[in-house]
Symmetry: C2
Subunit: 709 residues, 2 copies
């Protein structure tokens, strides 16, 4: 669409020249006209006679509103009259409005009274745009009215929003049904409403100084939309420019970080208990096959490796310099790293922004930018790259290679990742501490993990995003290839306050995070344990090829709870067609319940589980299986696990790939059976009906975001 940006520019420049940040109604009208945003016919009257003439031209009834740069809340000022039905009423209204406004604010300049076409009865909605601290310009949509304000039923998208994004907003509010017409009401014109959202989002995106646009109410009818009130606020604040790297630059640096051939440890030490000693030992004990060069001015030899006085003495090209020295020595050492041409500095030390040392942190950022060195940290535990046998950390080594890459902003969460991964034997492609994120950020790593052939799933703990747009861009490029799970800490205002005191990060409004992360196709984990479980489970499951989920259960009670979980996770229990129902019935006792869940009943031998699971795998109309196992003497846990794993393996050998998850109810032997199943591609949990279905739900959310369904 071609909009008259020149007209808007003139209005904005004039307002700013006058030192104003709030636009008047006529200014708003010029802007909405420039962006073809439909508004009621109207005009400005400066005398009662003009008001009458205008009203007559527009046609009665009209609405009349005070116009004053100082008066934003017109109703409060007694400055609004609606349903003005005659010339006489218009004359009276003009006088009363001006009198009220003067009484309300004697300092206010009165430009005049706006006379406006009365809007048609329709659904009141709100379309607006705001500037989010994390994501920049976002467009908002919700129903108008007091009630929605109370229940906060509103949805956001990045601006500018495309037509499809805008249409998706209409379905994203809780009261979406209202737009389709309820109780005899007519459906609103969805295309017109989406078009209005697109225009408002474009306006906000086109003009950085527009801080806020508020069309409220907009009247939406079956015939179109009409913005009855327009409010536009300007700002002088410009977001700080952040240094941007190209995708190729990012990939180049991250590849050398995650797949280095040569690593140096600045502050390497022979003294047990020192961080520089732990890092050296982990590099060596972890079996890193590349070069390891300790740097220590006072030692000749560290753990059997030749030590160098300074990093400039280290021979050959070095990919990564791990810093294990106190914060105050970092700037000088970092400059040397820069001069040596090492592309990555891993800054383990704390004592930077997180302890209030913002200047020190800015200094190292400046040095790094000068030399083109990328900084990981500071204030981190280091990182793991298991496929390279690389443990560049002062924590304990980890060596189970696998498909999940995990990052954490916080060291404590990093340790929880490590313990969880170890106890569940989760295969990992990377664990990376991000700490203060002075430079390398989630979007850098996401870009790399998206290309990394070892990584099948990415899980990130974060408290903020330094550059929300860059993250969304990286996520959008990655999600079609592999799932991205995000645990956003500081969801609640109490959490955000705690995040603020922790890293000085300004936590964005969670409603915006929620909608924008979904728009980016990210799977948001509600808590730490869910993030860890999703990370463990997602790489194990193949992608579903359709929506039909079938529950096969030996425990009717589990079937009920699994059905609840199916609904909670937005999944669909398949309506079983008669021939398939018949086929299942052939395997189960007459008092068992076919349908869905398929209740094979508790006393059944292994052959019943096996026959029904095989049928579930082989029928192409079924897209995912949820198994409920009940521990009995007839079919012990490991017997169930073995027959299930065998059926799944044989199906895969035939090219049948479906997600299979299982809930095992039984005595403690079910724990071993779950581990056995997990290692063989079946996501299985004991003592819970919720977790396996939540994992399946996460896989489906990804498959939808990736466009596979």
């Amino acid at each position: 669409m071609a909009f008259d940006t020149k007209a808007v520019r003139e209005v904005l420049d004039a307002a700013r020249a006058a030192g104003r940040t709030a636009l008047t109604a006529p200014e708003g009208k010029r802007i909405t006209d420039a962006y073809t945003i439909p508004t009621p016919a109207e005009g400005l009257a400066t005398t009662a006679d003009e008001a009458v003439a205008l009203a007559d031209r527009i046609g009665f009834p009209v609405a009349m509103k005070i116009v004053s740069p100082q008066i934003l809340h017109k109703t409060d000022a007694g400055g609004v009259r609606v349903g003005v039905a005659s010339a006489e009423e218009a004359r009276t209204a003009f006088t009363e409005i001006v009198t009220s406004a003067k009484a309300y604010d004697p300092q206010a300049g009165i430009t005049g009274v706006q006379v406006q076409q009365m809007v048609p009865a329709g659904q009141e909605v709100l379309v607006g745009a705001v500037t989010d601290p994390t994501f920049g310009k976002v467009v908002a949509f919700g129903l108008g009215g007091v009630l929605v304000e109370v229940v906060k039923d509103i949805t956001f998208r990045l601006a500018p929003a495309g037509h499809d994004d805008a249409l998706s907003m209409l379905d994203s509010i809780k009261a979406a049904e209202v737009l389709n017409g309820v109780r005899g009401g007519k459906a609103v014109d969805r295309e017109a409403l989406a078009g209005l959202i697109v225009k408002v989002s474009q306006l906000a995106a086109d003009f950085p100084e527009i801080a806020e646009v508020d069309l409220n109410p907009v009247f939406a009818t079956e015939d179109g939309v009409l913005a009855a009130d327009v409010r536009i606020l300007l700002t002088d604040a410009r977001p700080a420019e952040r240094r941007r790297y190209t995708r190729e630059e990012i990939l180049g640096a991250m590849r050398r970080l995650m797949e280095p051939r040569s690593v140096t440890v600045i502050g390497a030490s022979n003294e047990q208990g020192k961080i520089g000693n732990s890092v050296m030992r982990n590099l060596i004990d972890g079996g890193f096959p590349g070069e390891i060069h300790p740097v220590n001015p006072k030692a000749d030899d560290i753990l059997g490796r030749k030590a160098y006085k300074t990093v400039t003495d280290v021979p050959g090209d070095v990919d990564v310099a791990v810093f294990a020295i106190p914060a105050k020595f970092v700037p000088a050492a970092l400059a040397e790293v820069g001069r040596k041409g090492i592309p990555n500095a891993v800054l383990i030390p704390s004592g930077f922004a997180e302890t209030g040392e913002h200047e020190l942190q800015q200094r190292i950022v400046d040095i790094a930018e000068e030399h083109g060195v990328r900084l990981l940290g500071p204030n981190i535990y280091g990182y793991y790259s298991p496929w390279q046998d690389l443990c560049a950390t002062f924590c304990t080594p980890y060596d189970v290679k696998g498909g999940v890459a995990l990052t954490s902003q916080s060291g404590g969460i990093g340790m929880a990742i490590l313990g969880f991964a170890r106890t569940t034997k989760t295969g990992v492609s990377a664990i990376v501490g991000l700490g203060n994120k002075s430079d390398v950020d989630e979007d850098d790593l996401l870009t790399y993990f998206g290309e990394d052939p070892h990584t099948q799933c990415i899980a990130m703990h974060l408290e903020d995003l330094k550059d929300g747009r860059a993250f969304v861009e990286a996520a959008r490029a990655t999600v079609p290839k592999k799932p991205v799970v995000v645990l956003k800490a500081g969801r609640t205002s109490a959490g955000a306050k705690a995040a603020g005191s922790h890293t000085g990060a300004l936590a964005g409004d969670d409603a915006v995070y929620e909608d924008v992360l979904r728009q980016a196709g990210v799977i948001r984990a509600p808590g730490l344990n869910e993030m860890l479980e999703y990370a463990r489970a997602l790489p194990v499951m193949p992608a579903p090829k359709g929506d039909n989920v079938v529950i096969i259960t030996g425990a009717g009670g589990s079937g009920v709870l699994l059905s609840d979980a199916i609904v909670d996770n937005g999944l669909s229990l398949m309506e079983i067609p008669p021939d398939l129902d018949e086929a299942f019935r052939g395997f189960i006792p007459p008092f068992g319940a076919a349908g869905n869940p398929i209740d094979i009943t508790g006393g059944e031998p292994p052959s019943t589980y096996e026959a029904t699971i095989r049928l579930g795998l082989e029928d192409p109309r079924i897209h995912a299986l949820v198994l409920g196992y009940w521990h009995t003497i007839v079919t012990p846990p490991m017997v169930f696990a073995e027959l299930t794993a065998k059926a799944v393996a044989e199906a895969r050998a035939k090219g049948i790939e479906k997600p299979v998850v299982a809930s095992l109810a039984g005595d403690v032997e079910v724990e071993e059976a779950c581990q056995y199943l997990f290692e063989r591609g079946v996501v299985a949990y004991p003592y819970t009906t919720e977790k396996p279905v939540a994992a399946l739900g996460a896989k489906y959310r990804w498959a939808r975001a990736a466009g596979l369904l």
Copy 2:
């Protein structure tokens, strides 16, 4: 309040005599008048002249509505006019309404046209009453209007509801704020609105044949309430009367069930793999010190105990007969049990209602009622009473004595309870299978557990309640003494459908369950794992004495997530007063964050954890502690666990009892540390910030329901 029940009785009798289940508007008016429910001034006009006269008397403008027993949806029939402003308009409206109604339904009898006072502008609300299949008469409250209908913002209470219950309903809807007046609106008259709810609930409760009352809309203003439209529906259906036992009868039978001195096993067997063999072995191996009498017509001796041909041959008083014989033999054996005067039959066999054998089940219920035998089951795994060393089950024995009593409707869930309890070493006072619930129900067991000194917490898995009112009564009597956790399966419509096919149980509307269970003070677990974790954690924690929760964390990242969890669980982060803040700052590094969370920072030695935890325990203004631990070399997991357990034990020795929960982030050693802490009264979990706070939240919900806060 004294209501004119006689007037209502007359109206209802007349309507039923006429074979009608829907009342006309004038009939509704008589009923609302009898219950002093305020409605607009009105009258019935049968001619246009009468309509004009009436309107004149009431005062213009008026509303006019068709009155016809056949026409329920008056608007659809073109039978409603509002804002009728003059005699002329009233005359026209009368004719048009009657014409439209006749066109809409030519068969409809037209009683006339109701002429009604126009209601004042106010907040539209809905007050109604419905008959719930589980709980009987319940009263409903919500905001009126299309939007609320769409977002389903409605709340329920048992009818009759008291004034406090009614007031609590005003705060229970999501849009509660609207009633307080928003955007310059005035607050509604809460007392009048609560009074109206009480009246409607009393009306529904007083007349069993009133199936449904619907006052919609009611206009609530600052001055009072006015019910603008009244709809009352009648029913002929009477709920089946259920045999009721007195509290003393229930306690007598349940005591003999759970603390028996003599148990007989009908169908005891020497043959391995038979249920009658497993039950005998579990009784003997479990160490039950009372008498164990096998009954088997073909054996002289079972597992070294003298066997009897029939139960009548068993010597002395017997408390419990465990049935391990096929379903078809149960009726005859049960009659013998009855004749022998045994008060409890534990029916393990399946093959009753759950397989469609409803008649067989009814037969055993009849036999049991005839002899005064209480039935547990059928279709169950049996039950455990660890403090009696009693394992009357065919599953594996369990012997960790403790404070939690668990019941399950489903055998599969029972097995999950067993495995979970065993792996977590949860101390148990009872595990009971309820199966088909032909007789003994959750309310019987709740009554017993409420009195049982070993039981500190009760957790129940259920798919339905046979008698919702009896359950609520038992819960209300129990909750002030100990927490009751309920996992209601079949929350969702898919789950309820699965429940229906499982036990033939008619699942009630979950919205009613949700509100009524909360009204009864029950803690509802959202899923199986939560039920199990709450059951494990609640007896470990003392009751909180106030709302002030403080987080002390070594990991800032955990602090943020713990803060999120605090909000999610409806808890309050204490505002730390300056002197206390100062005291905490005395222990933590200068760059640590006091406030709440108190971030002691990650590198701190054990003494920092210890000093801050002790301060948290000892300051009487703090009521609960949430600890975030970060695994470091300086303070390893078991060091943290030991110092924390010691501080808590020493505080308890001084009479300081506060709930303390902990989230441990670290390598796998944190698992052992969590188990150590749990066994010493600190609810601790690894790799999750959510679970410990959820457990604390459950404890707070109970403390509030029990009136302790």
